[in-house]
């Protein structure tokens, strides 16, 4: 996924000179994860900026750039370091369109590597997506594989609204996939077809016995769990990759729940008032009669992300997903 994101950055910056990248250590080193490698050499330091160490300053100045017509991509180095920029994101990025009669949205992309699974030190493994999804005015998306990552990045840049672009660290190097060189979207001409890929869920694995609804870092292991359920119980679970966490693709969610009659939501963030709570509520509210069991959740626990020696105890695992599926199937 790192290479796919890198390709996306190159393509976006090459096709539209309004696109600009800023963040801590994104230019000279190409980012701590090398996602932005090669951009400085190609596009110069006016458009590829190693900023001072200040996240509110980064997001705030990105908003100002967008006000002048640029399309900044702002990288937050790690999940837990987005918090100092929280005010800029929720009071300004989220409300600029609203405060200008829809005419001057904050057209910024905030890229955030997030989640655990890479044995990182304290404060480098948070999943803050629900915090942003709860705040009106933002779009929140997370790709689960390389091709989606590139295409969704381009779509996010094209999208006039502020997009919180959550990159699962765990998938950066884990998942490999061919990414077509040709970008699907034409940035410079404002080709808006990208809205679909940003907002529509995708069936990552077909099945009609159980819907496993998930996104980002937990997509690969949900597929693994589905495969195991197939092998061990002959159950075919559909894995629905949400892609967009706000807005949610309600039709795809309720459609999958109805088609399967049973649903499990999986995510890495804490359970309390997480994305899973919303998905579960939506399904019950709308299609409870189609269900043969309540929707259950397999999520991170309601505790701080542990020190990394214990992170595998915290993270939803294939086993926990299979066990969660059993709770729904055997209910």
């Amino acid at each position: 996924m790192v290479e796919a994101l890198n390709l996306g950055h190159h393509q976006a910056m090459a096709s539209d000179d309004r696109v600009l990248l800023m963040g801590e250590d994104v230019a000279k080193t190409g980012g701590v994860f090398r996602v932005t490698a090669g951009l400085l050499d190609r596009f110069g330091e006016e458009r590829v900026i190693d900023t001072p160490l200040a996240e509110a300053g980064i997001i705030g100045s990105a908003i100002g750039m967008s006000l002048y017509g640029l399309l900044p991509i702002a990288e937050i180095q790690f999940d837990a370091f987005v918090y100092p920029a929280f005010e800029q994101i929720v009071v300004h990025a989220a409300r600029y369109a609203w405060r200008t009669k829809g005419q001057v949205p904050a057209s910024i992309v905030i890229r955030i590597p997030y989640g655990g699974g890479v044995r990182a030190p304290e404060m480098h493994s948070d999943c803050p997506e629900a915090l942003f999804a709860h705040v009106p005015g933002l779009k929140v998306v997370s790709p689960a594989g390389p091709a989606d990552a590139r295409d969704m990045l381009l779509a996010a840049i094209l999208d006039p609204d502020p997009v919180i672009f959550m990159e699962p660290k765990r998938i950066y190097r884990a998942v490999r996939e061919e990414v077509p060189q040709e970008p699907p979207l034409d940035i410079a001409n404002g080709n808006g077809a990208g809205g679909e890929i940003l907002s529509r869920a995708r069936i990552a694995r077909p099945g009609d016995d159980l819907a496993i609804i998930t996104y980002g870092p937990t997509v690969p292991m949900s597929i693994e769990a589905a495969d195991q359920l197939s092998r061990e119980r002959g159950i075919e679970a559909r894995v629905l990759d949400l892609r967009s966490l706000y807005p949610l693709d309600v039709a795809a969610i309720t459609g999958s729940a109805t088609a399967c009659g049973r649903a499990l939501v999986v995510h890495e963030a804490p359970r309390m008032a997480g994305i899973g709570a919303e998905v579960s509520s939506l399904i019950h509210e709308r299609v409870m009669l189609d269900l043969e069991a309540p929707v259950m959740r397999v999520t991170g626990f309601e505790v701080p992300f542990p020190q990394f020696a214990n992170e595998d105890d915290y993270l939803p695992s294939v086993d926990r997903i299979v066990a969660g599926a059993a709770r729904v199937l055997d209910w």
Binding site: L20, E46, R47, T51, P52, A54, A56, G57, I59, G60, S61, A62, I63, G64, M65, S66, L67, Y68, G69, L70, P72, P84, E87, Q88, V91, H92, Y96, A97, W98, R99, T100, K101, G102, Q103, V104, P105, S107, P136, G137, K139, D159, P160, D161, G192, G195, S199, Y246, P247, L248, V250, A251
Partner: protein, 376 residues
Amino acid sequence: MNELLRFIGDGDAIPDKPVPDGLDGKDLLEIYRWLVVLRTFDERAVALQRQGRLGTYALYWGEEATQSGPMYACRDTDWVFPTYRQSSIGALRGVSPATVLAWWRGYGGTHGFYNAREHRVAPICVPIATHLPHAVGLAYAAKLRRDPIAALAWFGEGASSEGDFHEAMNFASVWKVPAVFFCVNNQWAISTPFSKQTATATIVAKAAAYNMPATLVDGFDPIACWKATKDALERARGGGGPTLIEASCYRIGAHGTADDPKLYRDDADAARWRALEPVGRTAGYLTRLGVLDDTKRSAIAEEAKRLIADAVAEMESMDMPGREVLFDYVYARGRPDSFAEGLDELAAVRRPPEVQPLRPQAPPSTGDADAPKGLK
């Protein structure tokens, strides 16, 4: 140490200084006219609030010079970033004053907001200091584009305590962007005096932390405010980087219409400072210069009254926004499914009668631009 820049005397102990280069009689009259327009707006807004026709309003009585002077120093292509304390400044840039009044009346959407790009006026900023990084980013973008424009942002001395102030100043100086930070040091942040806000004697002292030039001016003197801003904007547009300006003045009125300064300060101070307020003082200076006379003065006052009276009438003629305004403009493109559901949910219930919060009344009697009767 920075010396206080000041041109306008008080006709008594403080001597007049000659008009600086770059301003002729027409300019002086226009700066004065803007003072009067701002004052008229402010007094009328306070009156409207008292009559229950606006919500809580942040008056700026006495701070008109910190707005008229800097605005006059701007080119039309420069961007400005006001706070709630400069709410009506957009009116000097083509934003309808009725829109600003509507904002204070609690209207959103097309009534109370405007297109920031059309006027190069950022939306009125309520969360303290948070607009300063925006000015920096905008200035960066202009520099990248090689456009000879600058960004001018106001903030209070209280705002200098926020992290966003620091981050903006630091980014601006590291990036050397064309931005001017205009601090209105009115000595109070609601009830908190300057001495509890910072350990420095001035705000300009903070420029050293960013290796940034700084100027201290009399905030009741629009010509001093003009001069400092003009020089800073020119340096900025010419590639010379950002400047910090501190306009030293005093918040003569309350923090806002809901605030009662008697709880925390001595009114005698305010009364003393009031002697230096800009409208009368500038009128005196221009009169001594022979630029202004009674006829011109009352013509300007009359014109301002008409302008604001028209704005009030326009604001009052606006329909109460419908319920759908809740869902307007949240996104530039596309609406989440939940918005349609929300509209449906609303359509299924009666609209609460109390939704019309402020009853339109007969237009109030017109105010007097020079007399500070809106305040005490």
